[in-house]
Subunit: 142 residues, 2 copies
């Protein structure tokens, strides 16, 4: 169930190739950051992480790369915050808690949420995916 987490550059490059992505220096850099562990990050965060020490990737490349990775199934886009897109490095099927107070996004573990079954889709369409988001908020301490 859980996605394999490569730890070294060689594994990362192999994973990119398997997904049909040419492993350029910038892409490997970003992939290393993202695939190190399951996390939810915005483009801005990736840009900051990648360039923390020295400048290695441009803004345009971060956006291009995240979009490319998502289209190849290496990342999952999560749309819950009206101001920015989150990218989830856990691509296995799962759903999310979204804390509307803190803006924090969390995976819902395991199979604890299941849809009975899909409703009939509009004619001429097919399902691409199902997102379940449980919006939560801080319980006001009485």
């Amino acid at each position: 169930m859980s996605t394999v987490l490569p730890t070294n550059r060689v594994d990362t490059i192999e994973r990119l190739k398997s997904a049909g992505v040419t492993p350029t220096q910038q892409r490997v850099e970003i992939a290393q950051l993202l695939f190190a562990r399951h996390q939810h990050v915005s483009a801005e965060q990736v840009l900051a992480m990648a360039n923390a020490h020295s400048s290695v990737v441009s803004k345009a490349t971060v956006y291009n790369t995240l979009g490319l990775f998502a289209s190849k199934g290496l990342l999952r886009e999560v749309i819950v915050d009206p101001t920015k897109v989150f990218y989830d490095s856990n691509t296995s099927e799962h759903h999310h808690f979204y804390n509307v107070d803190s803006g924090e996004l969390m995976d819902i573990q395991g199979e604890s949420v299941q849809l009975a079954d899909l409703p009939e889709l509009p004619a001429g369409t097919q399902a691409e995916g199902v997102d379940v988001i449980i919006r939560i908020k801080q319980t006001p301490n009485s």
Copy 2:
């Protein structure tokens, strides 16, 4: 189940008052447009609809009003498009199809989607709502 659809100004004003919203001219104008039928609209669309003939509402007021209506439960925010927020004038509990090709948002009728039950929430939080979005795409005609 279905939300009552007021047809005249008096009903609209009454509905705003019941929700604790002072019925100003601009708010009634926007409410009339939105509550006429179940629909999914963006702020930009509301602005265009309201000012189609003569200028009656400013951009800032449209944003303020939609936010206010949503906070009072008169509208439901739907976050599926990374570029803009949709407001749904159907506030009864239901879920959505989102056509990623056309950007179209559709209600899923009735109780055809049900969650078994909610997973355990993170400590100190409570559920605010559950969004289920089935992303669909055009079936490529073979």
